[in-house]
């Protein structure tokens, strides 16, 4: 049997005396597009922070392709093929769009901390950067400092930095938050494209985006997953209706 791309067992996280994550078990097979939904304060972002190494779980085990990554540092987890984006745009504001993507490319092409390669002469880096820029539709904005891009462009760049290293597992934290309807549609198309052949886990509030993209949905309420199933079944689930969908059915 092939190990799941990502597997959480008995994950708990306490902040002081407050339990934020109260025992999460979740297995996401390779190639799945998985959405995590839930009301505000349910612990979705905390869960992402635990998976990506930003926080350490208080208890439980996280496995990446069967290998234990519990308590590993963010960069170690990233090198093992998991990349994430952030809910609040987290880019390199005074570097150009091109540089932002290129920084994301470097480690995966094994240049590491090299101070003996002239960066402009690295063809593989250039081609890879070019490719990612093209994918996120920012080729014509390459020379612009990232800080002056429009909000939607910055969100695209955020995704670009995330996928630049070629990670197999992508975590996207509210990729369409704050976008207009048209912008969100673009973002969905982009996410569909970049998650092709990869494992995608995303936190999302926009239900149309979730039901459009996800193969499976997990509902997180008060630090626990109350349901994890295919979209139609989630829609029909009474408990979910009551806990979540009912309150935001807009």
């Amino acid at each position: 049997m092939i190990a799941p791309a990502l597997e959480l067992s008995g994950i708990r996280k306490d902040f002081a005396r407050t339990q934020i994550i109260r025992g999460v078990d979740l297995a996401i097979p390779r190639g799945e597009r998985h959405a995590i939904i839930g009301p505000n304060g349910a612990g979705k972002s905390t869960l992402f922070n635990l998976i990506s190494g930003r926080l350490r779980p208080s208890a439980g085990i996280i496995r990446l392709h069967g290998g234990d990554i519990t308590g590993a540092r963010p960069q170690e987890i990233n090198r093992r093929g998991l990349a994430r984006s952030f809910q609040i745009t987290n880019i390199f504001p005074r570097l150009s769009v091109w540089e932002n993507i290129r920084c994301g490319v470097l480690w995966s092409l094994h240049y590491k901390y090299s101070f003996w390669h002239g960066i402009d002469s690295l063809r593989d880096v250039r081609e890879r950067t070019e490719h990612v820029l093209h994918e996120i539709n920012l080729s014509n904005r390459r020379e612009v400092p990232a800080g002056v891009l429009t909000y939607a462009e910055q969100r695209a760049l955020e995704i670009g930095i995330t996928i630049a290293g070629g990670a197999e597992i992508i975590l996207l934290d509210e990729p369409t938050a704050g976008m207009s309807h048209a912008e969100a549609e673009h973002a969905v198309a982009l996410i569909r494209k970049i998650s092709e052949g990869r494992t995608l886990v995303m936190i999302e509030h926009d239900m149309s985006v979730v039901f459009d993209l996800a193969d499976r949905i997990s509902v997180l309420v008060y630090g626990q997953i109350i349901a994890s199933d295919a979209p139609p079944k989630i829609k029909a689930n009474a408990e979910v209706q009551q806990a979540y969908l009912g309150t935001v059915a807009a």
């Binding site: 190494g53 990349a83 987290n90 570097l95 920084c103 101070f115 402009d120």
Partner: protein, 434 residues
């Protein structure tokens, strides 16, 4: 804005080749400049000043690897400069004693290695955290080394310091480095090599990640890098170049004392880098030249030159955070669009107004200084070629009038200059579009 574009750096193949050509052109100009300057400035004091500028350029650039490139504010960079200098002095004396066939030009390497080794030792502690933690630890380490320089008298030579004689090393081509001009060319050669090396470092994967760490260390962790390791490598390389600069200073002065590792020396390099502009590679070069010049010239003219230094630093922080380089490069698009000349008139007016105000401020400072610090010399002083009585009212009145008039004029001229600037930028933009 221009600052951002400059640090960003873009790359497409054709642009690369063009940029490469232009860059090597700049280096050739720099080499010619270094080679030719002593032909223009022949006096002994000018040569000494040029030598000190070369040393300061290396030191300030090494400092900017931390502050400008990686976003690390160090208050103790003189530690690596000073230790480099001490190791070089001891190495020179050892070479002289044992008659090793080691010529002087390679000796600054000893300083570089010393700087590197101590940066590895101290950096392994101080670079674990960025931001305020790093700044505080750097200050603590600076104090530690400064105080041990007074305790370990054998190595640091106490108050007198350690002396050496650069002419007694192994000679090649019968150059003995007795004359300042020979030392100048030695410093110039090392300066060119270090400048090119430090520039090349900014164009490597490591150099780019330094910028990324400066911008957003947290995000760096999620693209596979450890900001701690990036900071550590930057710190070590910076220590290496600071050590070379210190070694050259030791060769230049033939004496090294505790002030080399002192907090004041750390302050000077911070000032030089910041005044020149930490956002551009050339910034610290300009800053090093200006600060060295002012250090020597101002200290001849006034006893309280450090006060003027402080005022200048405050002015830069408040009004030109991009430093000299930022101010200059702000005008590059205007130059390209050939509209720069439109600013000449308003700028001259602004300059005149500022000079009047500055003259007033200087007069107030000097009057006050004379009255309070040099009362025993009597109340008469000379300034701008005029003698006057500091105890009388009239010089104070003149000073106050100058300050007021200068301030008023600046207020009147400022909107004119701003308007001219906006017009010129607008003209440059439309010109660029059409």
């Amino acid at each position: 804005m221009t600052q951002i574009a400059e640090t960003a750096g873009m790359a497409t193949p054709a642009r690369d080749r063009f940029a490469m050509l232009r860059r090597s052109g700049i280096w050739i100009v720099a080499i010619l400049l270094f080679a030719g300057l002593p032909l223009v400035f022949r006096s002994g004091s000018a040569l000494t000043m040029l030598s000190l500028m070369g040393i300061m350029i290396i030191f300030a650039l090494s400092y900017n690897m931390l502050l400008g490139q990686t976003g690390m504010l160090s208050f103790g960079h003189a530690v690596y400069y000073g230790l480099g200098a001490f190791f070089v002095v001891h190495a020179m004396n050892a070479i002289i004693r044992a008659r090793y066939p080691i010529p002087l030009p390679v000796v600054p390497l000893v300083g570089g290695i010393a700087g590197l080794v101590f940066a590895i030792i101290f950096g392994s502690v101080s670079t674990r955290r960025g931001g305020t933690a790093f700044a505080m630890i750097s200050l603590g380490l600076a104090e530690l080394v400064a105080s041990s320089s007074l305790i370990l008298r054998g190595f640091f030579g106490g108050e007198e310091g350690i002396t050496t004689n650069r002419t007694r090393l192994f000679r090649i081509l019968d150059i003995n480095f007795g004359a300042q001009i020979q030392v100048y060319y030695l410093i110039a050669a090392w300066c060119i090599v270090c400048m090119i090396a430090m520039y090349a470092l900014t164009r490597t994967p490591f150099g780019r990640m330094c910028n990324a760490v400066r911008e957003n260390p947290e995000r760096v962790e999620f693209i596979g890098y450890s900001p701690t390791i990036v900071r550590f490598i930057a710190f070590c390389l910076s220590g290496l170049f600071a050590g070379v600069a210190g070694g050259l200073a030791a060769i230049n002065f033939e004496i090294v004392n505790a002030s080399y590792v002192g907090v004041q020396q750390s302050g000077v390099v911070l000032l030089a880098a910041y005044i020149g502009g930490i956002g551009h590679f050339v910034g610290p070069v300009l800053g090093a030249i200006l600060v060295t010049y002012l250090q020597i010239m101002l200290s001849d003219v006034t006893e309280i030159w450090q006060l003027y230094f402080g005022l200048m630093f405050i002015a830069v922080v408040m009004f030109a955070p991009g430093g000299l380089a930022g101010l200059l490069l702000m005008h590059a698009p205007l130059l390209r669009a050939r509209v720069l000349h439109r600013l000449a008139g308003p700028y001259l007016l602004l300059l005149a107004a500022a000079l009047i105000a500055a003259a007033g401020v200087i007069l107030v400072i000097e009057l006050g200084h004379h009255l309070m610090a040099k009362a025993s010399d009597g109340s008469v002083m000379r300034m701008f070629g005029v003698s006057f009585d500091t105890a009388s009212v009239s010089p104070w009145l003149i000073a106050a009038t100058l300050v007021a008039a200068g301030a008023l004029l600046t207020r009147i001229v400022w909107p004119i200059a701003t308007q001219a600037w906006n017009d010129a930028i607008a003209a440059a933009r439309t010109g660029a579009r059409s």
